[in-house]
């Protein structure tokens, strides 16, 4: 189990780096698609099939198509690499690395006593739906406002007339 998990982790890292160092935007989008699929495998590992399929449908089916579509509209073909090679970005990267180590260290010290919340782990659609419409009702409503804002915003920015 652990081996499969880490093989998948290796692949998600490779795909993420593929996005990071890609030179052709479309190829990076493809790498991102594979990254999303490898993320969905974590959900399948944990036994949450519903989330795994939602991940594939929404990210792979929706978001990647959107990104690829915009790349084609904008005509972003093979561009000269746009890496920000400056002292500033290297300092930023070092700070981020320190931060990542700090998170791992701090959390590693703190998650030793991890107590299970309840005897069973509900991965069914019904269980998730129950949680959404009881405890998470208000976040659900706010998410709907957020989606409305996002739709209007995307429309405002992308339309031709001012």
């Amino acid at each position: 189990m652990k081996v499969i998990f880490y093989v998948n982790a290796f692949f998600s890292l490779v795909f993420a780096l593929g996005v990071l160092f890609g030179k052709n935007p479309l190829r990076s989008a493809l790498s991102l698609l594979l990254f999303f699929i490898s993320i969905s495998l974590y959900f399948f590992f944990a036994g949450s099939d519903y989330l795994g399929f939602v991940q594939i449908i929404v990210y792979a089916g929706g978001i990647i198509v959107l990104i690829a579509f915009v790349i084609i509209i904008l005509g972003l073909r093979r561009e000269s690499p746009d890496f920000d090679i400056s002292l500033r970005s290297f300092v930023g990267i070092i700070l981020l690395a320190l931060f990542a180590l700090g998170v791992l260290y701090g959390m590693g010290k703190s998650i030793l006593h991890f107590v299970p919340q309840s005897p069973y782990f509900d991965t069914s659609v019904a269980g998730i739906g129950d949680a959404i419409f009881s405890r998470y009702l208000l976040p659900f409503e706010v998410a709907s406002i957020l989606l409305l804002v996002g739709v209007v915003l995307a429309f405002i920015f992308a339309k031709k007339e001012v």
């Binding site: 208000l138 920015f157 001012v162």
Partner: protein, 466 residues
């Protein structure tokens, strides 16, 4: 479920939908849509005030409403109404969605101040950020605006990813995202064994918060966005969302971690000192008024953080008072900047203003003096309350740093006055008469002097809501 405690937000959501429909049926009738928006806001304000003393928990512990949160609502409402008034004169031809974004940002801010769950906080923060993006980018065809929008978007998304990670790690540590449950667990179990983890999550959360209140090290969006975005929107940005940012800090740090304030106090103290000094020193060298006010807003965030470090009731009231008076100052200043024109916001453009339009010059001088913190204005009183609370809790160094910063800031605020009164204009052009901009200016001046001369009553009201 107790849904009625969110009645103002529900009214505002309906108004937002209404605005979209009106814009669809009769496009671009700004004054009409703006009036509908104002009516919706006033109705929400009415219900907000009628429920002022009602406290309660609703939506399965997602929101916790008390009178103190409704005080924050008041600041947001004032900011929104002043922005609508400014927009009538400032914008000639924009799409009516501007008002939609205004209302949704208002909803986001109000929910931020009321939410008692970290994840709820995150979702309302995102709603707020994206709505503000709509306000900033409403004149999207201007190059400056396009760039400001882009910068705000990328940095907002970046910092909110960190904020989200902080929330999730908090969830891992405490097995809950509810702020009062976190507080209870801290009181019951203490810090043993989880201290490193808590420090990590607090650093992550601070990144997200620092972005919203424009504190070091996530301040770098401020000057560019302030210079690029339309002046009325900038005024709104530095009044409402900033107050919302402080509301989140009060929620998370002060109520969530109230059992152990010492773990976040260090971080916030350094944040306060660096933010004050950096904002004021950077403002010295800029000659663009909008940019200067951006740096000054960073410095003001530093002053308010001083109040947060001194953990006591009076300090909380001082924060609300500060944001209230700052709202009026900043709206007044940006009303005048709107009159002179966004593209003429260099110091040289203000030279000789006292001769071409003496009233505007006089008003601008009042706003600058108030921001410096000279007595009889509200700027003085609000600074006084903040540093008083710091002195009472023995943060003498912070008070001294505050005074040094006050002296530094006097230089660049009063330089504007010097330019207006002592320099000669290179070319004289009359400022047209804008009724709405002038009304905002008058409202701001009246409240600055009201809060400056009779602060006692307002302060007592704020203290009584705690």
């Amino acid at each position: 479920m107790n849904a009625h405690i969110l009645l103002p937000e529900i009214i505002l959501s309906i108004t937002a939908a209404l605005v979209l429909i009106i814009e669809f049926l009769t496009p671009r009738r700004l004054q009409f849509i703006g009036t509908v928006t104002i009516l919706g806001i006033l109705l929400a304000l009415f219900y907000d005030l009628s429920m002022f003393r009602n406290a309660g928990i609703g939506f399965y512990g997602m929101v916790k409403v008390g009178p103190f949160d409704r005080m924050f609502d008041l600041i947001f409402f004032i900011g929104a109404i002043l922005l609508i008034l400014l927009s009538f004169d400032y914008f000639v031809e924009i799409s009516g969605e501007f008002y939609f974004f205004l209302i949704t940002s208002l909803i986001g801010m109000m929910l931020l101040a009321k939410s008692s769950d970290l994840f709820m906080l995150f979702l309302s923060l995102e709603t707020l950020s994206f709505s503000l993006l709509g306000l900033i980018g409403i004149l999207k065809r201007k190059e400056f605006v396009a760039e400001a929008t882009l910068k705000y978007f990328v940095l907002a998304a970046f910092s909110s990813a960190f904020f989200l990670f902080g929330i999730i790690l908090t969830y891992v540590i405490f097995q809950t995202t509810n702020i009062s449950e976190i507080s209870n667990k801290l009181f019951a179990a203490g810090l043993t064994g989880i201290k490193p983890g808590i420090i990590v999550t607090l650093v992550l959360l601070t990144v997200g918060l620092a972005f919203k209140i424009a504190a070091i090290p996530f301040h770098m969006w401020t000057p560019d966005v302030y210079e690029g975005a339309p002046a009325p929107v900038v005024a709104f940005l530095s009044a409402g969302p900033k107050a919302a940012g402080f509301a989140i800090i009060l929620k998370t740090l002060l109520s969530g971690y109230q059992a152990h304030p010492e773990i976040w106090k260090g971080i916030v103290t350094y944040l306060a000192v660096f933010t004050m000094f950096w904002g004021n020193l950077a403002a010295l060298k800029t000659r663009n008024l909008k940019r200067m006010l951006a740096y000054s807003t960073i410095a003001h965030a530093g002053y308010v953080l001083v109040a947060i470090v001194s953990v006591n009731q009076e300090a909380y009231a001082a924060i609300v008072f500060y944001m209230l008076s700052y709202t009026f100052m900043v709206f007044g200043a940006f009303a005048i900047i709107s009159m002179i024109g966004d593209s003429h916001s260099n110091l040289e453009d203000y030279a000789g203003l006292s001769r071409t339009s003496p009233l505007l010059a006089f008003m601008m001088a009042i706003f600058m003096i108030s921001m410096t913190g000279i007595p009889t204005t509200s700027g003085f009183i609000s600074k006084f309350y903040v540093f008083m609370s710091a002195a009472k809790t023995n943060h003498i160094w912070l008070v001294i740093f505050g005074f040094i910063n006050g002296a530094i800031s006097a230089y660049y605020y009063l330089r504007v006055v010097v330019y207006m009164y002592m320099m000669d204009a290179r070319e004289e052009h009359a400022v047209p008469y804008f009724p709405f901009l002038r009304s905002v200016m008058w409202i701001a001046v009246i409240f600055i002097f009201y809060l400056g001369l009779f602060p006692q009553k307002v302060f007592e009201i704020i203290v009584s809501t705690l």
